[in-house]
Subunit: 342 residues, 2 copies
DNA sequence: GCTGGACTTTACAGCGTTGCAGTACTTAAG
DNA sequence: CTTAAGTACTGCAACGCTGTAAAGTCCAGC
């Protein structure tokens, strides 16, 4: 049985509360007493019991992160950043996989784990922000694109503008027959709707009419979906000279199809993705993309939670909307490879 | 303030304990009473407080998973499988990133979060199994290759045999000048030592002498390390006709360097990796590799924890060693591309 | 010496839950 | 009719911790 304050107190010859005071850094403890207590703590290997602290009304030091699927690199990297950002505060992160299911997202924000966690960072894909109320809920931060203001804090890039920037990058290279892979296949796919909107905006601004069949919907966001969508596009006889893919994974799949058919990237078709996952830096060719600064987003999300935890619910300021800058990262899949060496 | 048993009891007109009995499925509750209590639970949105349960000596429904870094696809995918395997049991997973630091690994097994979690699944990279004692620790399961029996349950493939199989696959294709990328750069890198040993065994069995300089050490296991190691190998003037890489990420980096130098894969150099991460199925060329059946490993690890949680510590059986079958997955990076179509 | 104040330590209650012990009733067995 | 066994429910205590209140200690200043 692990030791508690009781055991430490007995060993140090003081009251339970004095040990508690030492553990919590209360100032009015005699140095000599503090030393004796500390010695007992070390000797017994005492660790405070967060369950008891939590029960007492305190914080547990655990926050939740809800993502659709860790097996997707984008969310895995995001999760890694969140865990890393939480560590310096002594927080650990509990992971929920929502599988993109709206009911799971709602349950979580409604407070499914409310007793176990101090706050939740949610990367929702299926639920409109306005519906994400937190009844008995815990402090929440939403990540990613949302089309309406919700009742909780929100951190994201301007997804429409980013998609437009990606498209303009292709336009700037002289491409005019620009397709898009990853059009939404259902109305709840908010993120993809934004990206499609940005694509359309950029084309319209350049005075280019949208071509029928150049917006290819996908059923999922996996490499396989990108590969399959690209094949479908080519099989219609379409011959784009550039493709904007709504995620890097789609782009990597699309490139795979292009190369299999001996279509040069970027010679024949330039490809740009979105997310700047790690794999984009090492693919062949390396993938141009939009960098949403996930590390910064993770840090801000953790900081926002940190602020909320320090607030009285009564005096809490209204939900905040934080906009993070994105940037276009131009790599080989649009610029081409540098001169070869051997 | 979220409702507790007290509130539910008041609403249903029964005692606190009866509500507790309903929540826990105690059999001797009259159907009519049960229905009334259930109605109150639903109306108030009652959720049991795991902190209180835990304090009372019960289980919290939270397990920990310790991995070096979620931003590495191998561990991210593993984590995804663990979270998915835990979900049907109603467990949530708390993620610790150890950064490959032995002290963190030791702290965790020693019971750093002992009060918050019911068990821990650890994927250690820096600590010999024998040192992973759990003093006040919680039920633990170790994943991955270990060179000595430890005091806790352990699930892994036979890493030496798997590396030998990978090397034999290259030998079977007629390759004789086989290099290895990812030799350990320090003695604690147990996993890589095993894989190097398997490589050497296979070569020796085939009567091939090890060449000096054909075992390239790496400082990390990232794509960049693989790319850099491959460049280093080629810059020495070595001309291998095959490379066994200790991880898929190293292999993808190595392939990147080869292609940049116009060395055909697998025409000039066949490459095989290890891990079967998702990216290996979609790289260009697709990557041959060893599949360690991570999904199965995750499932077994969760099941082992489940068994341990149901046991009295006194009657607990001794640590188990579970061996999972691996298999060689031959793809384009060793077999070549199928005929092209357009 | 006495008062007041700062410093140091302590007792107690209660957070939400469940194991245990126990009460009150009902039914079956002897 | 008595006893035993079973069913339905309840009350209490304790898990480990910390906020509050309060008690005890010490010393400066009058």
């Amino acid at each position: 049985m692990p030791p508690g304050l009781k055991d430490v107190a007995a060993r140090a010859g003081v009251s339970i509360k004095t040990v508690s005071n030492v553990v919590n850094g209360y100032v009015h403890v005699a140095p000599e007493t503090r030393a004796r207590v500390q010695e007992a703590i070390d000797a017994l290997g005492y660790v405070p019991n967060p369950a008891a602290r939590r029960l007492r009304g305190g914080l547990s030091g655990v926050i939740a992160l809800a993502v659709p699927d860790l097996r997707s690199p984008y969310f895995a990297e995001l999760a890694g950043h969140v865990v890393a950002a939480a560590a310096p505060r002594g927080w650990t992160v509990l992971i929920d996989q929502t599988d993109g299911r709206g009911d799971r997202e709602l349950d979580l924000v409604a407070g499914l784990h409310r007793h176990a966690i101090d706050g939740i960072i949610l990367s929702p894909v299926a639920t409109p922000a306005a519906e994400l109320t937190s009844r008995h809920g815990v402090p929440s931060v939403l990540l990613g694109e949302r089309n309406s203001r919700g009742p909780v804090d929100h951190v994201a890039i301007d997804s429409v503008a980013a998609a437009a920037d990606a498209t303009r990058h292709l336009l700037g290279l002289g491409r005019r027959r620009i397709a898009v892979i990853g059009a939404p296949d259902r109305p709840t796919a908010v993120t993809r709707q934004h990206r499609l909107a940005g694509y359309r905006t950029a084309l319209a601004d350049a005075g280019i009419a949208a071509r029928a069949g150049f917006a290819v919907p996908v059923g999922g966001l996996h490499r396989a979906d990108g590969a399959e969508a690209m094949a479908r596009l080519l099989d219609t006889g379409a011959r784009p000279d550039a493709v904007f893919c709504c995620t890097d994974l789609l782009a990597l799949g699309a490139i795979r199809t292009l190369l299999e058919r001996d279509i040069d990237v970027p010679g024949d078709v330039a490809v740009i993705g979105f997310d700047n996952i790690d794999a984009a830096r090492y693919s062949m060719p390396t993938l141009s993309t939009i960098d949403p600064h996930n590390e910064r987003i993770a840090q801000i999300a953790v900081d926002l939670l940190g602020e909320r935890l320090g607030e009285r619910p009564a005096t809490a300021p209204p939900p905040r909307e934080i906009r993070v800058e994105h940037r276009v990262i131009a790599r080989e899949s649009t610029l081409g490879r540098p001169p070869r060496r051997r």
